[in-house]
């Protein structure tokens, strides 16, 4: 069966510091991968998605970037965090065809102080 992992689970960072969140998927190959952000009490906003190694699509302009160095690894980064980057970050995966179900990881709670 497939599993998706995210770490760290919780992170507190000062404004201006760098960020690296990691997501890995097990039990499948060539998945589509996604990064979402959820502000407190609100719905999910798609940040990035990837259909293959090195292929990243950005949905909104922001202070963040994403990379996919390996087939089942997806990384969310920032060079300098802003207060507005605080939120709950969720990684998700789906099979290669576009209308398949997305399955979510446990999430990372990021607080920028």
């Amino acid at each position: 069966s497939q599993t998706i992992h995210q770490w760290p689970a919780t992170l507190v960072q000062p404004v201006g510091s760098p960020l690296s969140l990691e997501c890995t998927v097990e039990g499948t190959s060539n998945p589509n991968l996604y990064w979402y952000r959820q502000a407190a009490g609100r719905g999910l906003q798609l940040l990035f998605y990837s259909v293959g190694i090195g292929q990243i699509s950005s949905e909104v302009p922001q202070n963040l970037s994403a990379s996919r160095p390996q087939d089942r690894q997806f990384i969310l980064s920032s060079k300098k965090l802003l207060l507005s980057d605080s939120g709950f970050y969720l990684c998700a995966w789906s099979r290669g065809y576009s209308t398949d179900t997305q399955y979510f990881g446990p999430g990372t709670r990021l607080t920028v102080l």
């Binding site: 609100r42 999910l44 259909v51 949905e59 576009s98 979510f104």
Partner: protein, 113 residues
């Protein structure tokens, strides 16, 4: 662009009773998928049920069922025999061939003992 609207920010139901959560969406596409996700206090997004737009039969998963009205662009979730563990945020989501999963704003459901 697709939009998903959940008009009920909060709902409550007595344990063992039935509750219906509303969702409407707007799209010009004919082929798409609809989903209900549950987000308990742990904040992990869990798939509850999914519906293919080309299927007329409403999807059912144990105590969860949907009322899919394609012409009206409505996709409500019915939870029968509500349990305390059903307490969560529920998100309606839409996905078409463009790889985008669009979420509604969520409905907070409280199941009361």
């Amino acid at each position: 662009a697709q939009t998903v609207t959940q008009s009920q920010p909060e709902m409550s139901v007595q344990e063992a009773e039935t509750v219906t959560l509303s969702c409407t969406y707007d799209t010009s596409e004919n082929n798409y998928y609809l989903f209900w996700y549950k987000q308990p206090p742990s904040r992990q997004m869990i798939l509850v049920i999914r519906q293919e737009a080309y299927k007329q039969q409403n999807a059912t998963e144990n105590r969860f069922s949907v009322n899919f009205q394609k012409a009206a662009k409505s996709f409500s979730l019915k939870i029968s025999d509500s349990q305390l563990g059903d307490t969560a945020m529920y998100f309606c989501a839409f996905r078409s061939a463009g790889n985008m999963l669009t979420f509604g704003g969520g409905t907070r459901l409280m199941v009361k003992p």
